[in-house]
């Protein structure tokens, strides 16, 4: 048989920064992953754990039921300092259609960098930390993002890469209790807020957010303390290490986009169903790359939309599977697809022609030459369980 890997961890389109396998980078937790028996794979230039001995299904279910610890240190952590937060946010808003200027200190918001055609260069998280703007971007895009942002910042703004910091995500319904046990101050944090905390004696910056649809935290700690910090978290009875394989199935069930697959330089936020992340003020006033394209799409509609898809049979439909209508005409393509462990059946997302994008609409998925029945479905496939208040 031939073992295939490409369905698993796709490298985003801007691959100029991806290194060859021989020069893979390591996160501060690399030795710990190996010690825990992880299967390591190259991802975005890093040697990363795709799964531990528990296996992807078990790790997925563990995260949905208790708390999973993910090493996401490969992602880019940036900090922008300026005469004021507003100056930093205004500079970032020149590159992003999102509203970051209205953030209060400790608030976090999802957003994206766009190009002149309204395509998405990367998606990211911004947090206001006092007068500083913190940003987390995708691993495979971080070098390009850094150059892109640095090139446009005014002289009084300073962009720093926090490459000496690790990033750990603790996700799942028990994550709140675990972090509260080690840092009581975290208990009052709600979804999409950030705070400087001391967790088990380690100074860190944590946000209550993640990529699984569950409650949880993303915790930035100095690289030198990361391994001891991860070991402390793993000693808690609810916590198990989780690899990138389950991270992908968890985010797909949560209907969250994977940059490079579901959103790219060739998809706009309007087509991707991400207009909710663009505030009214920015829609009207524009002032970001691709503003005219997006304004035209809001006014006139789009020709294709990102939708959820539920195959009716048991065969998973992977990325790049053709989507056809009931007459057999091609209407789109799957961008992420696989098995949803929480549902016990295959799930997918992709782009279809707007006329076919209604929830419940019958489509077919062309898998290995056969047209398999499927329906356009509401996302998320698994209800989000964020800690909103």
């Amino acid at each position: 048989m031939r073992f295939r890997r490409e369905g698993e961890l796709r490298i985003p389109v801007r691959s100029e920064d991806v290194l060859s396998e021989a020069s893979l980078k390591r996160t501060p937790l690399h030795d710990l992953h190996v010690e825990l028996g992880a299967k390591m794979v190259p991802f975005a230039g890093y040697d990363m754990p795709v799964q531990y001995p528990m296996g992807i299904l078990g790790e997925h279910q563990h995260t949905r039921g208790a708390a999973g610890l993910f090493d996401v240190s490969h992602m880019g952590q940036f900090r922008i300092t300026a005469p004021s937060y507003d100056a930093a946010a205004a500079a970032v808003e020149k590159l992003c259609p999102n509203d970051f200027r209205s953030l209060q200190s400790g608030q976090q918001r999802y957003g994206f960098l766009t190009n002149a055609k309204g395509g998405i260069l990367d998606d990211l998280m911004v947090t206001r930390d006092g007068e500083t703007l913190r940003m987390v971007v995708n691993a495979a895009c971080k070098d390009a993002d850094y150059r892109h942002i640095a090139a446009s910042l005014p002289a009084d703004c300073r962009l720093e890469r926090l490459d000496d910091f690790a990033l750990l995500a603790l996700q799942g319904p028990k994550a709140g209790a675990v972090v509260a046990r080690l840092a009581p101050a975290s208990a009052k944090m709600t979804f999409m807020t950030g705070a400087a905390l001391e967790i088990a004696g380690v100074k860190c910056y944590a946000t209550r957010s993640g990529y699984t649809g569950e409650d949880g935290f993303e915790i930035s700690v100095p690289g030198g303390t990361a391994e001891a910090f991860a070991r402390t978290l793993l000693q808690e009875p609810e916590v198990k290490p989780i690899g990138l394989g389950a991270r992908d199935s968890l985010r797909l069930e949560a209907g969250l986009c994977l940059y490079g697959s579901d959103i790219t330089e060739k998809t706009t936020p309007v087509e991707a169903g991400l207009s909710w992340a663009i505030a009214e003020r920015r829609r009207k006033a524009g002032g970001f790359p691709g503003d005219a394209v997006l304004q035209k799409q809001w006014a006139e509609g789009v020709t294709r939309k990102r939708v959820g898809i539920l195959p009716e049979g048991k065969a998973p439909a992977r990325a790049h599977t053709e989507i056809a209508n009931d007459e057999g005409r091609e209407i789109g393509e799957v961008t992420s697809g696989g098995f949803g462990p929480s549902l016990g059946k295959p799930i997918a997302m992709g782009y279809v022609a707007t006329a076919s994008a209604g929830i419940g609409n019958a489509v077919s998925l062309v898998v290995r030459g056969k047209a398999l029945a499927a329906r356009v479905a509401k996302m998320p496939f698994v209800q989000h369980r964020y800690h909103r208040n």
Binding site: L57, S249, K314, R368
Partner: protein, 124 residues
């Protein structure tokens, strides 16, 4: 019944008379991880050695299973449709894929016995 034989592509064959039961090795199932779907061939399909016999999907990806010997598919393990994880749990037993009526018994000569396959896996 003869002894089990393996291909370099990690399929196994167990011959009984002129029929061979085919599956994937414990090494293969471990490499795949949790199996969530198996697409089996149609009964009556004539297949050549080295051609695609089945598709096995893990959470991560779809992988092809090749026919380690050629012949006609006479039976498939339909139990895998509802319980694909059987491939992980019992790769050499209940996790079999198909039974093939051998077209050419000499094709078995190119396959490895247990000891040779173990040495081959150890070298990977």
């Amino acid at each position: 019944m003869s002894a089990i034989r393996y291909s370099k592509e990690h399929e196994w064959v167990l011959v009984d008379g002129d029929t061979a039961t085919v599956g994937i090795s414990p090494y293969a199932q471990e490499q795949l991880g949790d199996v969530v779907f198996v697409e089996l061939p149609e009964i009556g399909k004539k297949i050549e050695k080295g051609k695609e016999l089945a598709v096995v999907e893990s959470v991560k990806a779809a992988s092809e299973v090749y026919a380690p010997i050629g012949g006609e598919v006479v039976e498939v393990n339909n139990a895998l449709t509802d319980a694909p994880a059987t491939v992980n749990e019992d790769a050499l037993g209940k996790g079999w894929f198909a039974k093939i009526k051998l077209a050419n018994k000499s094709e078995l000569d190119g396959l490895m016995d247990e000891a040779a396959y173990k040495a081959y896996v150890a070298s990977l």
